[in-house]
Amino acid sequence: MDFTTFLIQALNGIQYGFLLFLVASGLTLIFGIMGIINLAHGAFYMLGAYITYWLIGYTGNLAIAIALGLVIMVVVGYAIERLAISFLYSRDHLHQVLLTYGLILILNELQKIFWGTDFYSVPVPDMLKGGIQMTDNQSYPYYRLFISLVCMIVAAGLYLLISKTKLGMMIRAGASNREMTQALGINVNGIFAIVFSLGAALAAFSGMVGSPVSSVFPGMGDEILIISFVVVVIGGIGSVKGAFVGAMIIGLADTFGTVLLPEFASVVVYAVMAMILLWRPQGLFGKA
């Protein structure tokens, strides 16, 4: 593998890692703060992609489609939290798994009713067409760089939101001691609803910006959900920093696995997971 190929694959891996991070950070936040294991998280990613495809048909502009889509997804996330998830806080994981599994069945079926089972593609915006010429016949598309850049901004925003704002302080307080925070007069239920909608929006956003690269198809949510679980388990459940490191490890392992070991491509990430768990069963940044 020459250096240019290596560089292109590394950039691809990082870009995939960033998309994974947006999904996994929501998953890990929802678990860490609300104690909810949300299987429907992948469905939000899928809905994000489908809504983008649908809105781009009306607006013709990716940015507007994403902005409108995010509003829709925040509302959807909020409604699901109020109507279903909020009844589960005192129940055990088993019921959470079952109920959110039911949600997946419903959301997947609604997707089929509205959009059918065809594959769709979302056009890359004109401004970002083309790529950087690296050698005579290899180039790196601008749009993939754009994805990494946007995700980096979102990740930085998330970091600032959680570590520097008052809302972030309440979120962290709610995560470390729910009863105490409530006793201090903070509306924990309200915070939970916000965190859940935020997580849903992050997953959907990942599906939205990724849609021109990955195309839009049924079952895309299931795929990303399982990989996000791997990311969260590697990083340590509840840790956003862990989700970031885990997402990068898996993004790179998956990309280089596909190039170097094509026959075992999809097994590589799980082998990586097994090795890391042998070393640290609670994940890289998890509390024992």
């Binding site: 009844f87 798994v97 399982i226 388990v233 459940i237 097994v267």
Partner: protein, 333 residues
């Protein structure tokens, strides 16, 4: 108080009685459906050993179901049948080995980690079979010959006869039930129930809980492989869908909806849900939509499963003080 016991006993007797004379009652379509339900019942009971009795929420149970089926496909020659006395131990051994490896990693963790890790390992196996073109890739692989119940030229039972196969599966269902009941009443069963109620306390009593959990995991995986083996014989095809995490989710649903922590509940769940599916699928293309709504309603309204409806016929019998204490613990955790 006694009404409940009488109701359960009467219901069980009628249930087993109807199954026993099944081939005379059902047309061939329903006979196949009932065979499928009984296989699912075995599968669900095996998962209940983990979820309901040991407290291990495994989300990758379909892996063992599928592995045993694929092993049967691999070991069956195209031209002639293979003896069940060779293929069954081979397939169950393979499922047990897979469960041993996955379990060895998984039982070191607990709670949500356990759920996610079992899920991830099962997906790894799913992708392996899904992408292995020698095994038919995503289309799956046919098993051309049902195993020979006998050896060499001797044929004890003719498995190509649907009625014979029906009774083999029926006997397997009853056999699995009795086996699990014996195990659960044995000292081993007391220990794993103790692990579910309070692992630290069980540890403090001097039991190596990791080892007990691993044994339970392997046992459950082997029984799931048994169900997968029977399914492969019945349908004559194995596909990666058998290992897909939706399949794990579905069997978990059977266990919880039926009523976990009982052996009868999961079987009941398997029958109830398959009947529902069969009826709904005729009426609508969007069965999954109704299935999803049904699951959510059950979780919200009937958290202890369908089997808890038996409580309508009176409360559960009074249990001795110690057991009541453990039960309270269970409810708390």
């Amino acid at each position: 108080m006694m009404n409940r016991d009488i109701f359960i006993r009467a219901f069980t007797l009628v249930f087993i009685g109807v199954l026993a004379i099944g081939p005379m009652l059902f047309e061939s379509y329903y006979k196949e459906l009932v065979m499928h339900m009984m296989v699912l019942g075995i599968f669900a009971m095996s998962l209940d050993l983990l979820i309901g009795f040991t407290g291990l929420v495994s989300f990758g149970h379909a892996a063992f179901f599928g592995v045993a089926g694929y092993l049967l496909a691999i070991v069956t020659p195209e031209a002639e049948p293979i003896s069940i006395f060779i293929s069954l131990p081979f397939c169950l051994g393979g499922a047990a080995l897979a469960a041993l490896v996955i379990g060895w990693f998984s039982v070191r963790t607990s709670g949500i980690y356990f759920i996610m890790i079992t899920l991830a390992f099962a997906q790894m196996l799913f992708y392996y079979f899904n992408e292995n073109q020698d095994l038919g890739g995503s289309d799956g692989i046919f098993i051309f010959n049902k195993p020979l119940f006998g050896w060499g030229e001797t044929k004890l039972l003719d498995l190509d006869n649907p009625d014979v196969l029906y009774y083999l599966i029926f006997a397997s269902l009853i056999g699995t039930y009795l086996l699990l009941r014996t195990i659960l009443n044995a000292p081993f069963g007391k220990v794993i129930k103790g692990i579910k109620a309070n692992e630290h306390r069980t540890q403090a009593l001097g039991f190596n809980t990791q080892r007990y959990k691993l044994v339970a995991f392997v046992l459950a995986g082997t029984l799931a492989g048994f169900a997968g083996y029977l399914e492969a014989i019945t349908t004559g095809i194995v596909s990666p869908g058998h290992l897909h995490w939706h399949h794990s989710g579905e069997v978990m649903m059977l266990v919880i909806l039926g009523g976990m922590g009982t052996l009868f509940g999961p079987v009941l769940g398997a029958f109830a849900l398959e009947l529902l599916r069969d009826n709904f699928q005729d009426m609508t293309q969007h069965w999954h939509l109704y299935q999803g709504i049904f699951i959510i309603l059950i979780v919200l309204l009937l958290p202890n499963g369908i089997a808890s409806l038996a409580n309508l016929f009176g409360k559960k019998q009074e249990v001795p003080v110690e057991e009541a204490a453990t039960e309270k613990e269970e409810q708390k955790s």
